[in-house]
């Protein structure tokens, strides 16, 4: 814990930094202004890999949370904390425990939670106290509700506090995370959620941000917490400074995204924020040790506040879409468990769609046109007792064909949340793993095993929520699998009693920008909300046609000079921010003679001068002195810079070695990572510019028709393939030349082989793969068109239909038009692991439009 604040004199305004605190960004790391800012590694590129949540980018665009109201639902808030007092909002505060309006925590040494969370959101910037809130100009309040008996009415009161005034509610609590509880909001709290999203924020919907869980040591699943498992909450998980899963993380299918938090006490830093200066430690008003999943939700609330300032017309559902679209898996891909859904978005049961990115959130928010109305499509309820086997790894698999309510007013073509409401009996309940697979083939784990859940045997209409199908189609076959995969012995089988799908989504494409659609350039939104927005003034940083109310006012306040240059003594002056700093921050370069920091070119993180970048913003790469969305042809990406491929004939390569080509220039063909004008024996040139294997036994081929055969093979009767020459050995045996005797092929289900373990032809229903016979091609391989063998997918590809059509790429590959490339080609941009086309005639872009 830290004590930087020297007494009341600063609070009375004598400290010049305090006087400018409402506006001045906290860029100085001198220790004099916002002394804990330098400890806020999650804001300043201080993760172990240099990532952060890109908050500075949002601040630089002028968004600091001004005009947005956040309330922390917890054990209260210290209303007179010097780093909160300027932003404290009594209308976003109340004391439910004592039934009065003062949310000051009871000072027993334990009630500092809410105050700490509040500091993460809105600690004031530019003073000499603690660190800086993510939304340091937002209004902040707190509800005292956890310091007493909690019941349904208490929760409903908290969730429904002043909903036309409070924009965002942040909660870092929930049912016990003991690995055996299944509990959620009661009828009143649920009604409060519904009231909030339908009526709060004058009809735009309250934003409920929830810490996704804290049951790591108890192997809990946040799908069993009805608050994070709710469609009304944005469920937020945590990542360590190293980009890994912290010990307290609970995995589940309802987690939407992640913010940095803390890791092991000694190896990873925690979160720096304000602290409650209780009577036991009156001088300790700051801390660098805020930890746990509770540190994550307020950071997410702060980022949401920046997005709401950028576009005050966002609805509660818009915000969820923005989080899905802008969260980044790449800082967290070192941790295993990432999958790609049917619309090519990476998701994880640990981190949802990835680390929240404030810069991208506000960028997209200003352009966001608003999602179409929510449709809810309920499937029929299947009431048919099905046995859940008691044997270890026994499972029941059931299907449901749904049409997404096609042809009705509830039609869903683009999914958002999916709930699978299940009633079953199985003892112990914690043995179960439940999987739901969508028509597009995405499998989401609705429930992981909970070894401590041995006290109950039922799920009664529990609506397991998954956000992993976001953007996918609804119609088709859904598959539910319930597996007895726990380690405890079972005495008798269980019963799946009934299940039902409740699908949420839209009939129209939800990705709409103001004045255009991401995917349909002819789309014109026509809501009254949008028309109203267009009639307002023009803010900076935002193109003329993306107008919205309020932004011009808030930006003009941010830009209003708070200091004059003559006040700047030994430091550098930043004229566009009107502040003094010791060192030029990211995005600026120093002119030593003029003692001034000047802006780098757009998208530069650092630069030599106004034209030459030395490092780029996240997701961009440095090519020479320019920042591009991807490396140009003939280059590969290394440490966010572009390097030349070592071989001239490479159009794209994965690295500096001569055999790391992944795409060749025209006239050459890719074989084993190299480009050559002709393919080797047994391989043919494909239209995609690579060499692929001929069918088994072929020496050469034209498409899949053999044109010559290898030794011991002869052309078939129709001359289209090569068959093993007749030998004296029957099926399943081969002639051992040394002994002259027939020996077993050894590979199971093998009919013909050229040696032990070298199968060439398998029995019907089996396919040759690396000399063995498989009943199906495993991930990373595909079935050839003659349906006889499995071949490996191309390099960087983990799932493919053929050598030419890749469906999923490795984490270091980007899917572009059915190929996996190390980076997107010219004319494409990185759309979360997938390369999407830039707008027509655009050569390089970083996003649609």
């Amino acid at each position: 814990d830290f004590h930087y604040y020297e007494g009341n004199s600063q609070a009375s305004g004598q400290n010049p930094y305090f006087a400018t605190s409402a506006f001045g960004p906290p860029y100085s790391t001198s220790g004099f202004v916002d002394p804990l800012f330098k400890e806020q590694w999650y804001l300043t590129g201080g993760s172990k890999d240099g990532f952060d949540m890109n908050v500075l980018s949002a601040w630089k665009r002028g968004f600091t949370g001004k005009g947005v109201v956040v309330s922390i639902l917890d054990d209260g808030i210290q209303t007179n904390h010097p780093d909160l007092i300027l932003n404290y909002d009594p209308r976003a505060s109340t004391d439910i425990n004592d039934n009065d309006s003062d949310p000051t925590p009871q000072d027993n040494g334990d009630n500092k939670h809410g105050t700490r969370c509040a500091g993460e959101v809105a600690a004031t910037a530019g003073n000499n106290i603690c660190g800086v809130g993510v939304a340091y100009n937002a209004s902040i309040g707190g509800v005292r509700m956890l310091d007493g008996t909690v019941n349904d009415a208490v929760e409903a009161k908290a969730l429904g506090l002043n909903p036309d005034h409070v924009d965002i509610y942040s909660a870092s609590w929930g049912p016990e995370d003991d690995g055996k509880t299944v509990d959620g909001p009661g009828p009143l709290a649920r009604r409060a959620f519904i009231y909030g999203v339908t009526n709060g924020r004058r009809g735009l919907g309250s934003i409920f941000i929830w810490a996704s869980g804290n049951g790591g040591r108890h192997v809990d699943s946040c799908n069993c917490d009805g608050y994070t498992n709710s469609i009304f909450t944005l469920s937020i998980s945590s990542a360590t400074q190293g980009g890994y899963k912290p010990w307290y993380l609970e995995e589940c299918a309802s987690t939407l995204a992640t913010t940095y938090s803390s890791g092991t006490p000694t190896l990873d830093k925690s979160v720096a924020t304000v602290d409650m200066d209780g009577r036991l430690r009156p001088d300790h008003i700051c801390t660098v040790e805020h930890t746990g999943t509770s540190a994550s939700a307020p950071l997410a609330a702060g980022i949401a506040a920046l997005a709401l300032e950028a576009n005050p017309n966002l609805t509660w559902r818009d915000l969820q879409h923005l989080v899905v679209m802008t969260s980044r898996p790449d800082p967290l891909v070192k941790e295993e468990g990432w999958y790609v859904n049917g619309v090519q978005r990476k998701f994880s049961h640990k981190f949802g769609y990835g680390l929240m990115d404030a810069g991208k959130m506000v960028d997209l928010a200003v352009d966001w046109g608003g999602v179409p109305p929510q449709h809810i499509c309920k499937s029929r309820e299947i009431r048919e007792d099905r046995e859940i086997p008691g044997a270890h790894l026994g499972k029941v698999k059931v299907f449901m064909d749904v049409d997404g309510c096609a042809g009705t007013n509830s039609e869903i073509r683009y999914l958002e949340h999916v709930q699978c409401k299940i009633s079953l009996r199985f003892f112990p309940r914690g043995n179960l793993r439940i999987l739901l697979t969508s028509p597009m083939g995405t499998t989401s784990v609705l429930l992981f095993e909970r070894p401590r859940d041995v006290s109950s045997s039922n799920f009664d209409d529990w609506p397991f929520l998954s956000v992993h199908f976001w953007g996918e189609q609804a119609h088709g076959r859904w598959t539910l699998e319930i597996i007895n995969s726990g380690s405890r012995r079972i005495n008798q089988p269980g019963i799946l009693k009934k299940w039902q799908l409740i699908l949420y989504g839209t009939d129209l494409n939800p990705q709409r920008l103001r004045s255009r659609s991401l995917s349909n350039p002819t789309f014109q939104p026509s809501s009254s909300q949008f028309r109203e927005a267009q009639s307002q003034g023009s803010p900076r940083f935002v193109p003329q046609d993306y107008l919205y109310p309020g932004a011009s006012e808030s930006l003009s306040q941010v830009q209003k000079p708070q200091m004059v240059r003559s006040q700047c003594q030994i430091e550098y002056w930043i004229s566009d921010l009107a502040i003094c700093v010791n060192d030029c921050p990211d995005g600026y370069f120093a002119d030593v003679d003029k003692k001034e920091c000047f802006s780098c070119p757009q998208r530069c993180k650092s630069c030599y001068n106004s034209t030459s970048c030395t490092a780029c913003d996240h997701n961009l790469v440095l090519f020479g002195t320019k920042c591009l969305a991807s490396c140009p042809a003939g280059h590969y990406e290394a440490d966010s810079s572009c390097e030349k491929c070592p071989v001239k004939s490479c159009a794209a390569c994965a690295g500096p070695m001569g055999n790391e080509c992944v795409q060749c220039l025209k006239g050459t063909y890719l074989e084993n990572g190299k480009c050559s004008p002709k393919c080797g024996t047994g391989r043919r040139q494909s239209s995609s510019g690579s060499c692929i294997a001929c069918p088994v036994g072929c020496k050469s081929c034209d498409e899949n028709v053999c044109t010559s055969c290898i030794e011991n093979f002869t052309p078939s009767s129709d001359s289209s393939s090569c068959e093993q020459s007749n030998t004296v050995c029957p099926l399943g045996l081969f002639l051992d030349i040394e002994t002259g005797q027939c020996q077993a092929c050894q590979a199971e289900n093998c009919q013909r082989c050229e040696g032990a373990g070298q199968c060439l032809q398998c029995a019907h229903g089996f396919y040759v793969y690396l000399g063995t016979c498989l009943d199906q091609c495993s991930g990373g391989s595909y079935l050839t068109s003659n349906r006889k063998e499995c071949l490996d997918c191309p390099k960087l590809c983990t799932k493919c239909k053929s050598a030419e059509i890749c469906e999923e790429c490795r984490t270091d590959g980007m899917l572009q038009e059915g190929k996996c490339l190390p980076h997107c080609s010219e004319g494409y941009y990185n759309d979360v692991g997938t390369c999407s086309r830039c707008s027509q005639s655009c050569k390089t872009c970083i996003g649609p439009g």
Partner: protein, 86 residues
């Protein structure tokens, strides 16, 4: 009644006919009307001074009273919920 539950002397009550009728009902049956529950219109919190603040049994007597009152469309005796900080 759930043996693991701890019941309080608070009752959430839905009275669609409004605040005046809710006040009458509270007075008629000896409750103290604590007011509307948050932003939920026509949902009120009643407290009964003669019901134990914490009990492992629900109060059947007051359940019957509220159940028989035609202007009460729904009610719920409040049960303690274990909620932990994360």
């Amino acid at each position: 009644s759930d043996t693991n539950s701890l019941y309080s002397n608070h009752f959430a009550v839905h009275v669609p006919s409004g605040a005046a009728r809710a006040a009458d009902i509270a007075q008629e049956y000896g409750f103290i009307n604590m007011g509307q529950i948050g932003s939920l219109a026509n949902y009120y919190l009643f407290e009964h001074p003669k019901v134990r603040k914490r009990s492992i049994s629900s109060s059947d007597e007051h359940h019957t009273l509220l159940q028989d009152e035609p202007d009460v469309h729904w009610f719920e005796q409040q049960v303690e919920r274990k909620r932990t900080k994360r």
